[in-house]
Symmetry: C2
Subunit: 195 residues, 2 copies
């Protein structure tokens, strides 16, 4: 097995474990165990735990960019793109109920830890934010586009948090529908309030 492949396996395992258990509660031994390599081999690829976190964030950034590109390519228009974003809550419902949103929970944990790479992790939020902003701009929201993007980000984060607490599918579906309706208002009417 090549070095590159081993490294990718490590990042992939770390990605999942950090999502499911949180960063601080994921140990080297956990990751090494999942990749089935020795801890010695481990240190050949990553010198510190923070380096792994960096690699995981980079990997998530790359994967997210690719997903957003795909959505944009497949969508009929900007409103359809936004619906793809809203649908995350349904498509990843079970993971979200168990572990929350991977973006929000990592950002919050790193904030509490006062971790140096928190700004890096927040770029994941910004990736969605600028992408959503572009969709709203194309929908004619003008100056409000960024506010609308932030509003929708917040809505989905809140639904994810409560989905984790209550594991209530009906609630998630209701809120997704409410976001659809909210979007339709933005599409059909003049740009304005975000209520």
């Amino acid at each position: 097995m090549g070095a590159k492949e081993t490294r990718e396996n490590i990042v992939e395992a770390a990605d999942v474990l950090i999502y499911q258990r949180g960063y601080e509660n994921t140990s080297f031994a956990d990751i090494a165990g999942h990749v089935r390599i020795s801890r010695g081999n481990f240190y050949y690829h990553f010198k510190t735990k923070d380096e792994i976190l960096d690699a995981v964030i980079d990997e998530r950034l790359t994967a997210t960019k690719q997903i957003l590109d795909t959505w944009e390519a497949d969508a009929a228009g900007p409103a359809d793109c936004v619906r793809s974003f809203i649908d995350i809550l349904l498509d990843n419902r079970l993971d979200i109920e168990n572990y929350g949103c991977p973006v929000g929970t990592l950002s919050t944990e790193l904030a509490k830890l006062n971790h140096a790479v928190q700004p890096e992790a927040n770029r994941l939020f910004t990736l969605f934010r600028t992408w959503l902003r572009r969709q709203f701009t194309e929908l004619g929201s003008g100056e409000d586009a960024d506010d609308l993007a932030m509003h929708l980000l917040a809505r989905s984060q809140g639904v994810a948090t409560l989905a984790t607490a209550y594991r209530d599918e009906a609630f998630v579906r209701r809120e997704v529908q409410a976001m659809y309706d909210w979007l339709d208002d933005r599409v059909l009417s003049a740009p304005g309030s975000i209520s």
Copy 2:
């Protein structure tokens, strides 16, 4: 110093530290250091770390009940009560920017840890939920009261998460205003959609 007072000091320090650093990242030594007692003394009052967590959650439940009662006593009516809830985001803005919402972040961390007391922690959410539901019932929302309570809970959780990521005061104020407007729609019009 009496035993009761020492115990209260421990719970108080643990409450703050668990909020600021997270549960798993708060050690006995941290708490003992803040209370200025030895670790030995510590174990006289609490046998396990989970016992402290339990005590902290109980303390938060009691404190929250008291706050909700105060709000209800001071408010002009149910709409005013809901506004008090929304105002949490402004009143605790700086803490939220640094550490997130104490309810949501603890609930999410315990979910990831698969911790036995997660249901207990979620009772904090339920405390707000049933209280908000009562306000909406009094506002004439009928069957929708619980949905509206959950919706507002989710909105505030989402704003808290993004406030932690971006530390953007203008965003928080915008979203608070949007929730005010949303509430006014519920007060003035017939009960219906939550968009």
